[in-house]
């Protein structure tokens, strides 16, 4: 039996690690991991671990009910655009920024701020979120 790339990613998250795939041909990191390089299309990819540290470029919020009902108990939540230190971009929940216009504007005025991974549990699934440090 083989293990799905997706399961390996979530198993890694459950253990506190953030896994990606990297192309040995063009050095591009594909995150979250898939079966092919997102730049050159090569299927020869290797697993690498990311730090989870990065920069929160922007953070907004979702005031409407979340489209995924698994997040009903968490909503409303802040949601940000993050550049990881390894150079890849990811979007996710930001756990320690209040989802209010005042708090979001305040953070916008501060400009990009450092964040780190804050892995949370949503309905039994580990979810990659971030927190401002």
């Amino acid at each position: 039996m083989t293990t799905s790339v997706i399961k390996r990613y979530y198993d890694g998250l459950a253990e506190g690690t953030i896994q990606a795939t990297k192309c040995p041909t063009c050095d591009t990191v594909t995150f979250p991991p898939t079966t092919a390089c997102e730049k050159c299309g090569s299927f020869e990819v290797e697993w690498v671990e990311l730090s989870g540290k990065g920069t929160l470029e922007y953070v907004s919020h979702g005031a409407a009910p979340p489209p995924n009902p698994a997040f009903n108990d968490l909503a409303p939540y802040s949601y940000g655009h993050v550049r990881l230190d390894e150079g890849v971009y990811v979007q996710g929940i930001v756990t320690n920024v209040e989802p209010t216009p005042t708090a979001l504007e305040e953070l916008f005025q501060r400009g990009p701020v450092p964040v780190e991974a804050d892995i949370i549990d949503v309905g039994g699934l580990p979810v990659l979120a971030f927190k401002v440090v």
Binding site: I6, Y9, P32, T34, E38, E57, Y58, V59, S60, H61, G62, A63, A64, P65, P66, P67, N68, P69, A70, F71, L74, Y77, Y79, G80, H81, R83, Y89, V90, Q91, G92, I93, P101, L104, E105, F108, V122, L125, V127, L128, A129
Partner: protein, 425 residues
């Protein structure tokens, strides 16, 4: 990208009223079959084409959960006059009809078919009711977005809290503010003007879901100052700094178009509209990276469309950009070269994006005012561009009909599709 080896023309297009099958008088009580049939019939009549002249058809839909059906090619064939034709179903979400038009054009240019019918149909407000094939009942907004989001990254995006509103609106809007040094009030006022333009256009378009101008709505709700209304609890932030009235209005609807080779265009006694070229590019989440106002897929789609059609942005006389997120519609108008970068909100405030301005855009009202019936919307956008080129856009006709129009759509999530149209042969 190559070029078409033979010219391809749009002879006709049609769409239904965009609204709610349970409430909107013009479409109330219709089945999903009859909704598609209404659009197909209008397109065929506009093209002055007998259904027997059609060699093949392409039909599309994004959200089968609200139809409870697949295999639309066979399920609709007897309703749209296409029995025993070559037919297929395609899906490109909100780009469906225009992406299908490029496939039809390729088939025609290859000499395989002479005339092709494209149909898009969508119900976003209701789904089949119990065992009754003629009955429908409302669906919740949560279900509508959950089903719509089946078109978004299901391995990582949706399971980890993806939400269209911050991703497609709030984050991009913050990036636009930072890029162009806008305060929240400057941004808010500009977005109000942009919405005012869309709502004006919707009020002049009989098939639009919203017929009320923004000023009329404010007055109805007791406001004399439009900005006071815009910043009131009637128009809350949905994804900071984006407010409710900068977003999509979901609808039920259908659209269709007829594409033809040059022989068919020559035999047509109206004004054919040539499909000069197109660009298509797809991308998975995240749609943007270091510049959160620009999708790489859009950059590629516009560039390839202009190259294929051999046009420059200054030749464009009418532009529609996908605007279920008003900020995304604006950034793409700037990316297209139709508007100068960072000036879109000012152009809106100056009335330059109106049908009678010097940079007319989305004169049917766009996704907010015309409404958005996912797979059907791109066809409605193309119909509006054709109407403007042909000088038959009614009360919101551009005073000097444009010769070249560009129609950009985003199909969830994400296929950027750009069509370049030109009037005449």
């Amino acid at each position: 990208m190559g070029k078409l080896t033979r010219p391809v023309y749009l002879l006709g297009a049609g769409c239904t009223k965009f609204g709610n099958l349970l409430e909107t008088p013009e479409i109330q009580g219709l089945s999903i079959y009859e909704l598609a049939a209404q659009a197909a019939r209008r397109a065929l009549e506009d093209a002055k084409t007998d259904p027997r002249e059609i060699d093949a058809f392409i039909i599309g839909n994004h959200m089968p959960q609200s139809l409870n059906m697949g295999s639309l090619y066979s399920q609709f064939t007897k309703w749209i006059g296409m029995e025993h034709k070559a037919g297929v179903q395609v899906a490109a979400a909100c780009s469906t009809t225009n992406a299908a038009a490029t496939m039809a054009a390729s088939q025609i240019a290859a000499g395989v078919y002479r005339k092709v019918l494209v149909v898009g149909v969508e119900a976003t407000q209701n789904n089949p009711k119990g065992p009754f094939p003629y009955g429908r009942e409302p669906i919740t907004s949560e279900n509508m977005w959950m089903w719509t989001d089946y078109g978004v990254n299901q391995a990582y995006g949706v399971p980890q809290g993806y939400d269209i509103f911050p991703v497609y609106n709030g984050l991009m809007a913050l990036a636009y503010r930072r890029k162009h040094g806008l305060t929240q009030e400057e941004f808010d006022r500009g977005m109000m003007e942009l919405c005012r333009t869309k709502r004006l256009h919707g009020s002049l378009t009989p098939n639009a879901i919203l017929q009320e101008t923004l000023e009329e709505e404010a007055k109805r709700l007791g406001f004399t100052d439009l900005y006071e209304f815009w910043t009131s609890p009637h128009n809350p932030y949905i994804a900071y700094p984006t407010r409710l009235r900068s977003l999509v209005t979901a609808a039920d609807g259908a659209s269709a178009m007829v594409l033809s080779d040059a022989d068919g265009a020559r035999a047509y006694d109206g004004l054919p509209v040539e499909l000069l070229g197109w660009g298509i590019s797809v991308g998975d989440l995240p749609w943007y990276q270091e510049d959160a106002t620009t999708f790489p897929a859009d950059v590629i789609a516009f560039r390839e469309a202009y190259e294929m059609a051999d046009i420059r942005p200054e030749q464009i006389g009418y532009l529609h950009t996908h605007d279920c997120s008003h900020i995304s519609g604006l950034t793409n108008a700037e990316l297209s070269g139709y508007l100068p970068e960072g000036k879109g909100l000012m152009y809106a405030a100056e009335g330059r994006l109106r049908f009678d301005g010097d940079r007319p855009m989305s004169t049917h009202g766009g996704r907010h005012a015309f409404g958005h019936a996912w797979a059907a919307s791109a066809g409605a956008d193309t119909l509006e561009a054709m109407d403007q080129i042909r000088g038959r856009a009614g009360k919101k006709q551009i005073p000097t009909p444009p010769q070249i129009a560009v129609v950009h759509t985003h199909g969830y999530a994400m296929i950027s599709t750009v069509l370049v149209l030109r009037g005449g042969m």
